[in-house]
């Protein structure tokens, strides 16, 4: 029956929980260190909180603006709208806004903090290269991101990293300018400097760890979106062929375009990396192509057996 066929991938869920647990643990330890050394972090929290709110409430507009995407009406892009209409009807989700970015980089992204404010954007490059079925697979993947509230989850996760990073910077300046705070007058200057050094070290380590954890989380959520998207359309192979086409085409694009897009990788369908630029899997926001194709092949096999 349907229930067993569409069972969630338990291994994937377990790994995600583990990463999120570690992420939380890192944060707790970090706050613990702050409390232990009596540093008042109010100002930093206010600044970081401001960034967080800005990112949280403005994510749709920021991403669209940065990618030069514009919202299109059904009259302007009937095909794209029709595909999304059908996906919405199949999955019973509210229709997101539809946008097109004038760029030849073949990519698509989804953003927005809730299903009502979601924007799904495809570049002219991806629409030119993929046929309707492949494009549908890609859009189903993006709409899964929206349904999973990935923008919210990832924003909160990176917030912890941003927070740690800001404190690192703060502590760094404090050490440089002699750490002129109240405690410095009571204790001797040496121990105050030592405390600042500890804060600096602690937050640097926290930032490094959360950096890797966030990337791991991002990779798992990509796999999740692949899986839900493929099950929604019932055609994992179309998504697999879209992935191959897009990543194959990635290497033929001029580097300049790609570099200007790199900072938005976390929201992308496939990361825009300059050709010949290889990062270890630990650093990347997306799982390797092999891993994604392998998962899709597995879903395809399950569908074929119809168990």
């Amino acid at each position: 029956m349907a229930r067993t066929r569409f069972a969630a991938d338990r291994g994937l869920s377990a790994r995600m929980v583990f990463v999120m647990f570690l992420l939380g643990l890192v944060y707790v330890v970090f706050v613990g260190v702050l409390i232990a050394i009596h540093l008042s972090p109010i100002l930093i929290v206010v600044i970081a909180g401001g960034f967080f709110l800005f990112q949280f409430f403005g994510s749709d507009r920021i991403a669209l603006y940065a990618m030069h995407g514009h919202i299109v009406t059904p009259e302007e892009a009937p095909e794209l709208h029709a595909i999304i209409d059908r996906l919405c009807a199949m999955s019973n989700t509210p229709k997101p806004k539809v946008a097109i970015a004038d760029s030849d980089v073949p990519n698509a992204f989804a953003t927005g903090r809730s299903q009502k404010r979601a924007v799904v954007c495809a570049t002219t490059g991806i629409m030119r290269r993929l046929d309707n079925e492949e494009l549908e697979g890609v859009l189903a993947h993006e709409m899964s991101h929206v349904a999973h509230h990935d923008v919210v989850v990832m924003t909160i996760a990176s917030f912890l990293g941003v927070l740690a990073g800001l404190i690192t910077r703060f502590a760094f300046y404090a050490t440089m300018f002699g750490g002129g705070n109240q405690r410095g007058r009571n204790n001797n200057q040496d121990s105050a400097a030592l405390v600042e050094l500890v804060v600096l070290l602690a937050s640097a380590i926290v930032y490094a760890i959360s950096f890797f954890l966030i990337r791991a989380l991002s990779r798992y959520r990509e796999l999740s979106a692949d899986r839900s998207g493929a099950l929604l359309t019932g055609r994992p192979s179309s998504l697999a062929s879209a992935l191959q086409k897009v990543t194959g085409a990635m290497g033929q694009i001029p580097t300049r375009d790609l570099r200007s897009a790199e900072s938005f990788n976390a929201f992308f369908f496939t990361p825009a990396l300059a050709p010949g630029f290889s990062l270890s899997s630990l650093f990347s926001t997306h799982p390797s192509l092999d891993k994604r194709l392998q998962q899709l092949a597995e879903i395809s096999r399950e569908l074929g057996q119809g168990r």
């Binding site: 029956m1 349907a2 066929r5 569409f6 969630a8 869920s13 995600m16 929980v17 999120m20 059904p74 009937p78 029709a82 595909i83 209409d85 059908r86 919405c88 009807a89 199949m90 999955s91 019973n92 509210p94 229709k95 309707n132 079925e133 549908e136 899964s144 349904a147 999973h148 509230h149 990935d150 919210v152 989850v153 798992y220 959520r221 999740s224 979106a225 839900s228 099950l231 929604l232 359309t233 019932g234 055609r235 994992p236 192979s237 179309s238 395809s300 569908l303 074929g304 057996q305 119809g306």
Partner: protein
């Protein structure tokens, strides 16, 4: 969707709701009485064929079931694929026999549902025509359990929104009409329309 699903990044495929389809016969009568739209005897089911042998087998079974059930009388089944990769099963029936048409459509639905492919169902529609040439379809959304009217104007992708709103008003007591207008998506060139 629960908190856990959000945290773990998973969605359950939405199950199709089949029984509301049986609101169609009485709605057809109301349409005929109120707006002079007569059923054409054409209905179709739209679904996204999943890849693999399991789905293909189910689809053949459903088609055979319909062909054999209508051995004596006229109705037949026609399969087509649209440009978005969705499959349409067009069922022809006697124009006066709306309940029979709905029963056939329901047979397709339950056939797919029983094989575990309920989530693959997109929509069903039956079509109506007016003496002055206007056409209208009542589209059933499985995942919402609601209907909405779709009235194409001419051939260049325009909708007769005024007529659609009129139909909504007429049928409000007969069936669950989809309240969110953004979900009244067009099905241009749907078989049977």
């Amino acid at each position: 969707m629960g908190f856990l699903d959000t945290v773990l990044g998973r969605t359950k495929p939405v199950k199709a709701d089949l029984d509301d389809l049986f609101a169609l016969p009485s709605a057809a009568l109301t349409l005929q009485a109120g707006l002079d739209f007569v059923p054409t005897g054409l209905g179709s089911v739209c679904f996204k064929a999943a890849e693999g042998a399991a789905f293909a087998r189910t689809q053949t079974d459903v088609q055979q079931l319909l062909d054999s059930s209508s051995a004596g009388s006229a109705p037949d089944v026609e399969l087509s694929k649209d440009s978005f990769g969705y499959t349409w099963l067009l069922v022809r029936h006697d124009a006066a026999d709306v309940p029979g048409l709905v029963t056939d459509l329901h047979a397709v639905n339950s056939g797919l549902q029983d094989a575990g492919f309920g989530p693959q169902l997109l929509c069903s529609l039956i079509s109506f025509a007016h003496a002055d040439g206007r056409r209208l379809a009542l589209v059933y959304l499985y995942k919402r359990g609601t209907f909405y009217p779709f009235a194409p104007l001419g051939t260049d992708q325009h909708r007769d929104n005024a007529l659609e709103i009129q139909v909504q008003g007429t049928l409000v007591n007969d069936m669950k009409v989809e309240p969110e207008l953004t979900r009244w998506f067009p099905v241009w060139g749907a078989p049977g329309l």
